[in-house]
Structure formats: C-alpha cells, structure tokens
Symmetry: none
Subunit: 226 residues, 2 copies
DNA sequence: CGATATTGGATCAATAATGGATCAATAGTG
DNA sequence: CACTATTGATCCATTATTGATCCAATATCG
C-alpha cells in the first residue's frame, strides 16, 4: 500500500462528517473496531487520527463508553448543570463566593442604588425583624441581600446571585439555618443589616463593603464554625 | 451484543412522552417492573435512566408509591431567567464581573491548582497560539480561563463562570471579537496568558491576580475602548 | 388495626463491549 | 540501505448491561 498519509485523510473524512452535520454534537461515533473496517485501515492508524481529533477538541473519547462528537457548551446545557451544581454545593463554597461578590457589589451599590432601592432594603429589614420563625426570617434576609446586589445595576450579576440564592430553598441549607440562627444572632444580623444600608445611604462604598464583609464573616462563622 | 447507550435512548423515549403531553404532570408512570418488559431492557438499566430523569427534575420517585411526572419547578424558572439574562447582557457587564471574579479565583488557583491543571492551561495556550482563525482562538481562550477558574476548586464558582462563558457563543459577542481581536492583540494576549500560568506555577497568588487583572483590563479596552 | 402485596432503593457478580497501550513485522519512500 | 508510516496482534482498564437478591416504604385488603 502507498504511503499517502492515511492519518490526515481519515481526519478530513471525519471532520467533514461533523462539519456537514451528518454527525451532530453528542453523536456517538462507530466503534474503533467498526471504523477500521469501514475505512479500510488498521486500528493503530485510525487511533492516531482520533487522537489528533481529540486534541483539537473535535471529539471526546471515553474508555468503555465510546467516542463522541464534542458538544459546545450551549447555554441550555450549562444552565441545567449549573442548577445541579448550585443544589449540590456546600455552604462553605457558597460563602466563599458570597464573601467576594457581595462586598464588591455593595461598593457599587453605594453609588448606584436609587432611593427606591434603599427603601426596599429597609422594608426587607423590617419584615425580617418581625418574622415569627426562621424560614420567614430567611426569606426576607435573602430578599435583602438580593436587593443590595441588584442595586449594583449589573443585570448579569443580579442573575448570578439569584441563582446562588436558590440554595436557600435546599432542605440541607434550611436545616443548617434552623439550627444556627438563634435569637441572639438574629438580633446581631438585624443591627448589621441596618448599618450596611445606612452606609449605602451615606454613599460610602468602602464602609458598605467593609460592613457587609464583616456581616458575611459572622454568618460564615455561625454556619460553619471558625 | 453492542453497547448502544440504552440508558440515553430510554431517557429520550420517556422525555418525549412527557414533552408531547402524553404523560402530563402528576401522571404515574408504569412500574419499573412493567417498564423493563415494555422497553425490553434490564431493570438496572431502566433505573439508571429514571435516576437521571429524577436528577433533572423531570420525574419524582417515591418508594412504595411509584414514579410520577414532576410538576414544573420554581428553581427551573430562576435558571431560565438567568439564561435570558446571560444572553442579553452587555460586554460591559460581563467584563465588570470577570474583573472581580477572575483575579480572586487566580489567587486561589495559585495554591490549589494541580500539576494536571497547569498542564491543561499550557495546552490551551498552545492551541490558541496555533489557531487558524478568531473563533478557534476564542474557543481555546475561553477554555483557558475556564481551566484557571476551575483550578480554584470551588465547584459553584466553576459553574457560575461556565454560565458567563457561554456568552462567547452569542453572535453579538463573536462579531465584537472578530472585529477587535487583531494579530497584534493575539500576540499580546498570548504573552499575558503565559505569564499568568507561570505565576500560578510559581504559586504566587498576588502576582497571578495582578497579571490576570491587567490582562482583563487590556481585553476590556480592546472590546469597549477606554 | 395487622398481614400481605406492591413499589422503588440498593447492591453484587458476571459478561461483553469499548477505548488505551504496546510491540514486532511489513511495506513504501527517499 | 535507513527511515517512517502502516499493519496486525495482544493485553489492559473502564464502562454498559444484564440478572439476581434483598431491603425499605407505601398501599391494599381482610
């Protein structure tokens, strides 16, 4: 047989199958042992082609499962996987992110929040103070934080934070809160919330960021210990 | 016998029954022992499909009662609204968030990244350098940033960033990139990427954070102007 | 109420299919 | 001849699927 770079030829064949939509993303390729017959080439040669295709991100191979046309991360797929990610993430992970996002967002909110935003925050605080039980307190606490984030006037950020906030509906999270949110702590949180909103009203970004950071550290300690 | 991914096939069958309204929310599915006969597969295989459907929130299963088509969930709404939010967000909003998230994540990655992570980053850089066109460059650039974020070992953060990253597939974003990513800039980005990964390999959090921040500022300027 | 049947949950072992890896032999190219 | 691509073969690691058994929660019926 001639030396005509069979590897490159096979790559082009498979690539054209993909690009022409004959093999769509997620499609399972024929097994190597079938492809070698269909293409009239040794398995070793075929595998060199597949290796290159994998390195280029065109296909994905898994031992025992098969080879698949690579799937671009479509928004839909990502969102459903994000949902599972959120539902399965630990309080530690959640707090780690909140501790970065919220102080920064509060800094922005200090300059961007409207009077209506501030009023809504005070409303949340009042509702939280009058909450008869922990779940109700949690609801208004979440609403308050969401309002602060939204006041940063970055829609994408608000959406991301809302996604994070759904973790509060998780049974595990609710149990944790139920166990750790004592009356003493509720009082402390109430005071901290008030100070944060005051700082926002004073248009003091550093102060708002510092206060919400302190607040979140207190929350983290009460949830996870030191 | 051939491995034909029976699990996926069953999932699609059941999903289509639901989506076509044949099985409405609340409908009780046939018992597993009946379905395995009807679908001609082992119960174990069937159960893998049902488990996946349950994880995706499509059905609800209860011991002793049966499996039921799930009611549309609220957490699902949050994710679809996030999806719309992502698709509709401006490059300015995206960069504002990346500028906060990535330097911080890089700082964590400097201590948490594994050798395999670093190798994968270098791989992405090499692929980006050899990319024949802007879309391919964009793909590997996105992959690189995602790898850095994932190296922070916070699953929730990785999920959130992946959601942000899907914006790259938006036509508006791609056009913007096509117009602004010149060869000069590609060369500059390539150098910056290399320096960032070097800093991570040196386990220097401050340096990594500073470098990725500078890089993102350069990207923002090229995308949006001063 | 209590006994029994039904239903999903969980685990195990066995078999087969699949990609991963290596080696020696062969054929074409220069 | 020397070199390289290709072949053909063998074995390994992981996964899918099957078939079976037992457990846990619920429903049903006497």
């Amino acid at each position: 047989m001639r030396k005509s770079d069979a590897v490159a030829a096979i790559i082009e064949t498979i690539e054209s199958n993909i690009e022409q939509g004959l093999w769509k993303p997620g499609f399972r390729l024929p097994t190597e042992r079938e492809l070698e017959l269909r293409l009239g080439v040794a398995r070793n040669t075929l595998r060199k082609s597949l290796k290159k295709l994998e390195e280029d991100g065109k296909i994905v191979r898994q031992i025992g499962r098969g080879s698949f046309v690579a799937e671009p991360a479509t928004s839909n797929n990502v969102m459903t996987s994000l949902l599972n990610q959120v539902l399965g993430s630990s309080p530690s992970e959640v707090m780690e992110i909140r501790l970065v996002l919220e102080p920064w967002a509060a800094g922005l909110a200090a300059t961007r929040a409207t009077a209506a935003d501030l009023m809504q925050m005070r409303d949340c605080i009042a509702h939280a103070a009058g909450a008869p039980d922990v779940p109700t307190f949690e609801k208004w606490d979440g609403e308050l934080h969401q309002t602060i984030i939204s006041s940063a006037k970055n829609g994408l950020l608000a959406g991301l934070y809302e996604a994070i906030n759904t973790v509060r509906h998780q049974p595990e999270w609710m149990k944790l809160k139920q166990r750790t949110v004592t009356d003493d702590r509720r009082a402390a949180y109430h005071r901290q919330h008030g100070e944060i909103v005051d700082a926002l009203a004073e248009r003091d970004p550093e102060k708002a960021a510092r206060l919400i950071r302190d607040h979140l550290i207190a929350v983290r300690i009460s949830l996870l210990g030191e």
